[in-house]
């Protein structure tokens, strides 16, 4: 039985959402049309309920040493009231357990947002690592105490002005504040961040307060947007999703380096993190597979790519599709793929086999949409 998102009643009774399951949660898939909702985020402002994501509080003197073991990034450089930027937690094969973002309040108080399907696994991973090294860290899962929304789109500053929260517009990308007030409601945390490539904020608040904040945002012109658009937006940006671009199984997924995560997710000068040896071995030996973007040609604009479809150059299978969709913004079928690194040449054409037929696409770097992400 799927867990209902904190705002479930509000979505169903007031917003008329169509619900579906993601990562063990029942979440809004869409409200009207996911294609329209996608364009709202690219041109105006959309509101996502992302309460299903794991919110974990970590406190104690050894949070930094713990994070230095868990993540590929040097977390010690993160400043107070800033997010570290995205990073990855690896297993010993340098395959990704989860891609996450730590938030630093102080050296001894941190928050982590985990992907919904991996929340429990990561809680266990934290606990086991704490025990193994004797770290003094307290882990608390606050996922059920708070709801979380992401307000995303180029007009987000106007919307925040309108709801009397213009002060939030001073936040830089990845900066956050705690214990603020928006629309007369207590906000536990607000950060300038998102997962769409657009400007925006993410807000954590108690579920009741969140409904009121949501209402104020609607009144100011923001529109509800479902998780389907969240997926199509992230595919355009080249952001990864567990189960598609990464997973722990080394027989099915390449090492973390092949993801070409970027955004400073790996700090090579850092030593001693879990999965480091396998990751360095991959770096030294080279990546067999490289993650790239694919844009189908105009003629094959409606050839929709799906996970697992083989990619060809001439008669050679050179890779596979990991995610695909139709981009309403580019008016093309687009996707992400792992391509044999010898064939991963931006601007070159490949063919994707769909139900026995070949369709032409071009290898692109990310993001597939121009001029993004927007950094404030």
């Amino acid at each position: 039985m799927a867990i209902k998102t904190h705002l479930w009643e509000f979505h169903v009774k007031e917003l008329g959402a169509t619900l579906g399951e993601f990562g063990g949660w029942e979440v809004p898939m869409l409200y009207t049309s996911s294609m329209e909702e996608h364009n709202i985020v690219r041109t105006s402002v959309g509101i996502f309920d992302v309460s299903h994501m794991g919110r974990i509080k970590l406190t104690g003197p050894d949070v930094v040493p713990l994070f230095q073991k868990i993540y590929t990034k040097d977390i010690s450089k993160t400043k107070e009231y800033w997010m570290s930027g995205p990073t990855m937690a690896l297993n010993e094969y340098a395959r990704v357990k989860d891609d996450e973002m730590p938030y630093k309040v102080s050296d001894e108080e941190w928050y982590v947002v985990a992907n919904a399907p991996y929340r429990e696994k990561m809680l266990k991973h934290f606990d086991e690592t704490i025990k193994k090294y004797g770290f003094k860290v307290k882990v608390e899962d606050i996922t059920f105490k708070t709801a979380m929304i992401a307000v995303q789109g180029p007009k987000v500053e106007e919307v925040f002005e309108k709801i009397g929260a213009g002060w939030a517009n001073d936040l830089h990308t990845l900066e956050f504040r705690v214990n603020e007030e928006i629309a007369g409601q207590k906000v536990f945390l607000i950060s300038r961040s998102g997962w769409t490539g657009e400007d925006g904020f993410e807000i954590w608040a108690e579920p009741k307060a969140m409904v009121e904040i949501y209402r104020a945002l609607l009144k100011a012109g923001a529109k509800p947007v479902g998780i389907i658009s969240r997926d199509t937006l992230r595919i355009e940006m080249g952001y990864v999703l567990g189960g598609h671009e990464y997973e722990e199984d080394p027989t099915k997924f390449p090492p973390a380096l092949c993801i070409r995560y970027g955004l400073g997710a790996i700090t090579w000068s850092k030593r001693g993190f879990i999965g480091e040896e396998a990751l360095r071995a991959c770096r030294r030996e080279g990546c067999r597979w490289i993650r790239v973007g694919i844009r189908m040609t105009k003629k094959h604009a409606r050839a929709i790519l799906r996970q697992g479809y083989p990619v060809y150059v001439e008669d050679q299978v050179v890779g596979w599709i990991t995610s695909g969709t139709y981009s309403p913004y580019l008016k093309r079928a687009v996707g992400q793929a792992y391509i044999d690194s010898r064939y991963a040449i931006f601007g070159e054409y490949v063919e994707v086999e769909i139900r026995g037929k070949r369709y032409k696409g071009k290898i692109f770097d990310f993001p597939l949409v121009p001029g993004r992400p927007v950094v404030k």
Binding site: V12, T18, M29, L30, S33, S34, M35, I228, D231, T232, R302, A303, I304, R306, T325, Y326, A333, R355
Partner: protein, 141 residues
Amino acid sequence: MSTIEFEAKGKKYLVRTDVKYTKTDEWAKKENGKVREGITDYAQKELKDIVGIELPEVGQEVKKGEAIGTLESVKSTADLYAAVSGKVVEVNERLLDEPELLNKDPYGEGWIVVIEMSDPKEFDELLTPEQYIEKCKKEAH
């Protein structure tokens, strides 16, 4: 075109009263020995945004219940099945560039294919609107 509205899973769906239905959510309308076929309002709402379609070829011989096309929605791929056996005499090529018509007007401009029936009895075996509503409601449980 007259329609009935029914509710399942808390959502409202339309059925056309002057056509018959398959168990796989296609509608079929008799037109002078030929059958015009499309997908139902229930099907398009289940699939959500349809962004691509593969059509059968004109002249192709098809059997009732056979997969004759593919519908691509944002999240999934679904087959289109022939409502009756016969020869494909017309396909709605507009859908290749505007698959959203399947969402906007599934019973009208979103029609998919016209089949010249080889066995007119097959049409009579299709579900009535009432039977189709029952099927959808059962599925929703």
